[in-house]
Amino acid sequence: MTNGNLPLIWRKFPERYLLQGNRCETCGTCFFPARQVCPNCRRKGKLVQMEMPRQGKIITFTEVFTGPYGFEFETPYFIAIIELSNKARLLSQVVDSPREKIKIGAKVEKVFRKISDIDPEGPIAYGYKFKVVG
């Protein structure tokens, strides 16, 4: 997180800290990140803000050996597409989990972690990651 994009990051705090997305009351679909318009119901849709559940399962995953700037010291690490228990899907790092337990279908739970801390004098970005449970 650099000083230049702080306002952008700050606006995402509810999303990053609380997994705040939204749900269409017309069709019941949950969205993360929040959508402006329900793609199913369009103008008939009614979107309401909601916190996503903290539990989900791994749909697919990969292991990153060459990380981008800011993540190079964390390699190798796992990122996964996670389906939350309300069917919303997101991409997240999977941490604190033994390699053998990271597999398709594995149950995961949200944890609060540092996402980026690259400048010793700059702001720290916090947010969600997931870990395998059970």
Binding site: Y17, R113, Y126
Partner: protein, 350 residues
């Protein structure tokens, strides 16, 4: 009646053994381990700090309390390893548990006892006669303690934290706080100057005139104020800079050291500084039964102790956390000294 409505503890999963640290510095591991009564310590991961630990502990506390986080009116985070020198950890915690924005919040520092100072501040706020001030206060002790490489404290300086929600609705309490008493003096036994990376300490001076004087004085002052005797307590929890001090201070106070075992976690997770007394109290509450009495005494260098007398309430039976502290202690993965140096950013390039 004021007391605890819910609590949560968080212990990072990584552990480094005393043996591994001693091997790096070519010291006598067995001798160090037995003199400190510490086998290993908990280490925060590369992406963890005292703020993430505080958030995890706070979330568990809110879940156990079964309250709407929006009703929390105060958040205090005690730590000596706040990620920022200026910018509160408490505001991150408040937003991360969705407690804000209508609340008061602040970071506290008093070496290892800032978390219990937060409990006292919350007690004062919830008991205030000012109408409708706050219903609940959240006090957290959380640290990723800094140990100077090669220093004696490196064997114990650990990571962890616990959060307590303080309330006044008798029906919701899992334990009442019946009395509190503090003892504070200017005793320079351990410090970290502004901009210094690691703390320094005064060796053996941290014992008799520092830890023992303050813990004993606070405990005795509490018992005199509460008209209680050492035998009245079923459990005792003390600040635990190593595995020996709490057992010795227990004897000095006339409390059977067996009663201090449930809350003594330093042998397995090290000294979690601001988290130490509070994780110990969480472990005691995991095991305590309604009606039992608990003595909890923190200690912070510099120096001071906060002592509390608690009575466990019936409400605890329905609110027991799904994972006990002792179970968290067992969930671990051992790391090498090199990984520890990376995780705790002791390497200059990190």
């Amino acid at each position: 009646m004021i007391g605890i409505v819910g609590y949560g503890a968080y212990i990072p999963k990584y552990r480094i053994t005393v043996e591994e640290i001693a091997k790096t510095w070519r010291k006598d591991a067995e001798g160090i381990s037995s003199s400190l009564n510490v086998k290993e310590k908990a280490v925060a991961g590369f992406d963890e700090d005292s703020c993430t630990i505080a958030v995890e502990a706070a979330r568990k506390a809110v879940k156990m309390a079964g309250i709407d986080a929006q009703k929390i009116g105060a958040v205090y985070v005690g730590s000596e390893s706040h990620p920022y020198a200026v910018k509160p950890t408490a505001s991150v915690v408040a937003d991360a548990i969705n407690a804000g924005p209508e609340l008061t919040a602040a970071d506290l520092e008093f070496a290892c006892k800032a978390g219990t100072a937060g409990i006292q501040m919350c007690m004062g706020l919830v008991a205030s006669s000012m109408p409708d001030w706050i219903d609940y206060g959240l006090a957290i002790g959380s640290d990723t303690a800094q140990g100077r490489p090669g220093d004696a404290l490196e064997y114990t300086a650990a990571s962890g934290g616990a959060a307590f929600i303080i309330g006044k609705n008798e029906k919701e309490l899992i334990a009442s706080i019946d009395q509190t008493f503090s003892y504070t003096t200017d005793t320079p036994d351990f410090w970290r100057r502004q901009h210094a990376e690691f703390p320094r300490h005064a060796g053996r001076f941290t014992g008799e005139p520092a830890y023992f004087r303050h813990v004993v004085s606070a405990a005795e002052g509490l018992m005199a104020k509460a008209k209680m005797k050492p035998v009245d307590f079923d459990f005792a929890v003390f600040h635990q800079p190593n595995g020996k001090f709490p057992l010795r201070v227990s004897k000095m106070l006339g409390i059977d050291p067996k009663r201090a075992k449930q809350g003594l976690l330093t042998p397995e997770i090290g000294n979690t500084y601001s988290g130490a007394t509070m994780i110990g109290l969480a472990s005691v509450l995991d095991a305590a039964k309604p009606g039992q009495k608990i003595l909890a005494v923190s200690y912070g260098s510099g120096a001071g102790s906060d002592a509390f007398a608690l009575t466990v309430k019936k409400g605890i039976e329905k609110k027991r956390p799904c994972k006990k502290v002792l179970e968290m202690v067992k969930e671990k993965e051992y790391i090498s000294y090199a990984e520890y140096a990376k995780f705790r950013r002791k390497l200059k390039t990190l």
